[in-house]
Symmetry: C2
Subunit: 355 residues, 2 copies
């Protein structure tokens, strides 16, 4: 149906039997519009051959990093990937960080002003650590967004109504632990801080792997928000208690850095005495010996987040999407067989290929 002449809000409004103001509100994602009316307007617009993205002047997304000090290389790379994909699709992107409490009711949260100005920002990407009150607010204001699902606190039901992208770090924790188990380790400890949500999923994977092998998950958790400190203290206290340990699963690479320091302090060598794995592949390659860790493809996460929000802008009434980006375990030099297994191997004069 080739529309003759210009097709503007006036025509759409007429076709949908609403005012121009309402048509404007629907097409640029502004203000609150009854979902029913929204649907009608979009349908009419489509009939006239107008999709939202053609309509808009501002092709800019906002990347909102919530409740983070933003120093983390991991998030920096997500942003980087998002930016690259934006550029490739002809969109701009601004980044801002935002701090809020998960306990503030949604209607008392005050969004950064730029986000609220919707003539500029067409969609938002939520990364960092979020909670459902912010989701509520954005939903309420009718702001289009996609969400990094890994660190969200609150009811799962609410989250599932959004477009969510996950890094599969549960599987990552599982794979990392599996690797250690295959090498013959049995005394495998988790070091991190289970109070912080970004360790929780990795820890969950660790637990599953341990339980599936009939072992008890054992955690040395320190409530500090400095990752390195957390790893250092967690390991120290574990060694001080005289626990048996041949391998350590660190909550992330920075934690692993602290673990390294503590082991070295005790004169233990890596990987001969203790094997270590990390998560996130941030500083792992700088450690010595180079850390075996879990790569999470942060650039890919960024790309998926952009894709999700652009898809939502194009077709506002589709069902919520959920995307999971896989992880990869990277073998470097921080894992070997545990001492006992090595001895047995030598005694039996076996020559199986090293795992």
């Amino acid at each position: 149906m080739p529309p003759r002449g210009k097709v503007g809000l006036r025509e759409i409004a007429k076709a949908a039997h609403v005012s121009i103001a309402t048509a404007s509100r629907v097409m640029n994602g502004n203000g609150r519009v009854d979902p029913k009316i929204q649907k009608v307007v979009l349908a009419e617009a489509r009939k006239l051959g107008v999709t939202p993205s053609q309509q808009f002047k501002s092709r800019t997304l906002a990347f909102l990093l919530s409740n983070r000090a933003m120093l983390h290389a991991f998030h920096s790379r997500i942003l980087s990937g998002a930016e690259a994909h934006c550029a490739a699709r002809g969109w701009d992107m601004v980044f801002l960080s935002y701090h809020y409490s998960p306990h503030t009711p949604w209607n008392e949260l005050h969004l950064p002003r730029v986000i609220a100005r919707r003539d500029l920002i067409r969609g938002v990407i939520l990364a960092g650590t979020n909670s459902t009150n912010l989701l509520e607010l954005l939903l309420h204001k009718g702001i289009t967004f996609s969400l990094l699902g890994n660190n969200v606190m609150g009811e799962q039901a609410r989250i599932e109504k959004c477009d969510v992208v996950y890094a599969d770090d549960i599987q990552g924790g599982f794979d990392a632990t599996q690797h250690l188990l295959r090498l013959g380790h049995r005394s495998i400890w988790f070091v991190g801080n289970d109070r912080l949500p970004w360790f929780a999923r990795f820890l969950q994977g660790y637990r599953r792997a341990m339980l599936e092998s009939g072992l008890t998950p054992r955690e040395s958790t320190v409530d500090s928000d400095k990752d390195t400190e957390c790893g250092f203290l967690g390991t120290k206290s574990l060694l001080a208690r005289g626990e048996e340990v041949t391998a350590i699963v660190a909550g992330n690479d920075e934690v692993a850095g602290g673990v390294y320091k503590a082991l070295r302090d005790r004169g233990l060598s890596i990987p001969q005495d203790v094997a270590v794995v990390g998560c996130d592949d941030t500083v792992g390659m700088w450690l010595f010996p180079a850390l075996s860790t879990t790569r999470e493809f942060p650039e890919q996460l960024g790309k998926s987040l952009v894709e999700a929000v652009l898809r939502r802008i194009e077709t506002p009434d589709q069902d919520p999407q959920s995307i999971t980006v896989p992880t990869e375990f990277i073998r470097r030099d921080s894992c070997g067989r545990p001492p006992q297994v090595l001895e047995e191997l030598t005694q039996d004069a076996m020559h199986g290929s090293p795992i």
Copy 2:
């Protein structure tokens, strides 16, 4: 003069004897307007108590990272410091990255849309690698900004007309080299890439220190934009040529990481065989042995950049400011006395306190 009733574009246009459209163009910075008329409109607007940015009283700064992949921990920390200081002063901040060629004439550069909108962004902080054409453009458009001076290409004269903040990395390079000289090193090499502007100033400090001690600066430079690779290859080729070397000044911490790898490959130990220093204090603490490096107080730089631009917003007609933030040399475990000196010390049975 308190204007009665609303003051909008209609009133401003009337006072300046132009059309509303022109007033709009001036006030939001879109479209081309004759500078004379622009001036008249702004003057009338001010008389009516409306400055372009106050109109919507947006208190937002933009942090523009130019021509960088943004992964660098160093810039991430500048941003972090800027953000914190903004928040403390009640301002918002958005971050965006921007790529442009130093060779594009200023009037052909196209700024990110958000920046151009004065109703949103009252000031800009320029970090990353910049060139004078962008400064020209901002100056022309009348956009307030402050500038991180360390990586700017172009005439010094133009730069000095802006509010500039420097990290004193020339001094940093000098101090780092001094430290090695005091330890007794004489065969000190610089490893980096002298084509990249962010190594240039540190290198300059190194050179000065060498020359002042009557030594010839010696550089092994590799034209790669991957820092680690640059350090690795630079060191490898230097060793392959059989050059005498007891200490290496690496262009930054990532480069030092590559240097470590190359030394280790050759079976040389740090600091016994070769001393290494880095710059920027990014990954230095993760290396083993921990890297002695130069701290540049990036958070402080961010804070100073914000202060500079806010000062300029407050008092637009003050003289250009130039601020230099000092650096600090951090001693960790990567530097010792050179082998010959140690021998002498032992032979002479001296017991001077270690430097």
